[in-house]
Subunit: 156 residues, 2 copies
DNA sequence: ACCTTTTCCCACTTTTACCCACCATACTAG
DNA sequence: CTAGTATGGTGGGTAAAAGTGGGAAAAGGT
């Protein structure tokens, strides 16, 4: 089962966020029985947003990351950014998570937040950043000339 | 279990640092029962930051380092730098460590410090150095052209 | 013997975890 | 149709835990 769809949520004054049930259930599904659903949240290196994975999915990724040759500068860079920001989080009794201050800062979130289901993961955006970014995406998209060949082959 | 995630801590006037619980627990896990968790701290030869290992992990690394051909100048250099700076440290009763003056100097830390979980080890950065370095990393990363092939294959 | 560094201990502040209460919506049953 | 009842999202109080700072004793070096 995969994440999809968007949801808006509010952070409270303490930086907590309620995980919408639609997503929450997927985390519960992926967690060992009788254990609190665990998830890992890290940064997206290309956008000012955060990525939220079920622990199981993240472990696969971290394993791949650690196998990269550590004398390769680009690999070290990615490891520092992704693993270095990846934080373990548990859903509390009321289905909320506390976003670490460092990550809140990175994604420039204060209150209004958008969650975007994206298959294996959820993306977390500051609402204002997202709506701006969405505009530019739509613009870029209508400019069909610049779509690479492999997109033209997609039949929706 | 592996180190991951970022944490900010302050050194006090004596150069002591509280190891965040999240990391501390992993050190305790890796230490023999009923003994104070021991760790080894040394320098990173490519960046102005420090590397902190559980003693067990460091021993493996030091062994590998010592097996390097000692007539090879580059190997001698690495041995001198890494083994030469490696310092044994214990977590005290309140979970703090005292950073040796030499290493504090090397990493240019005074007060604000960032810890980055990096798998087998933790990296310790001066906060200002890290945020500058992180910026350049993010820049380099968005410049997708120059990412080596093996990174492009990663599906996050 | 003196000075510096380290260790141990205690006190304070901030952050986090846990709990409960409230409101809006949607659904159920009379 | 309406009252009652779940359910999801939100807000906030409080106690425990984590992090911070500093005094003073102990250890170590010169």
């Amino acid at each position: 089962m995969m994440f999809r769809g968007a949801a808006t949520v509010n952070l409270d004054a303490k930086g907590r966020m309620a995980m919408p049930v639609r997503f929450r259930d997927l985390f519960i599904e992926k967690a060992p029985i009788d254990a609190n659903p665990q998830l890992v949240i890290t940064i997206d290196t290309e956008e000012s947003c955060l990525l939220i994975y079920p622990l199981v999915e993240w472990n696969i990724i971290q394993q791949k990351l650690e196998q990269l040759p550590s004398f390769n500068p680009a690999a070290r860079r990615i490891q520092r950014l992704l693993i270095g920001h990846a934080t373990d989080i548990e859903l509390d009794a009321s289905g909320r998570i506390l976003l670490p201050a460092v990550l809140r800062e990175y994604a420039q979130v204060d209150k209004k937040v958008i969650l975007l289901g994206q298959g294996k993961k959820i993306e977390l955006w500051s609402e204002s950043l997202w709506s701006a970014r969405r505009e530019t995406y739509l613009q870029a998209n209508s400019n069909t000339e610049e779509l690479p060949e492999l997109l033209h082959q997609l039949s929706l």
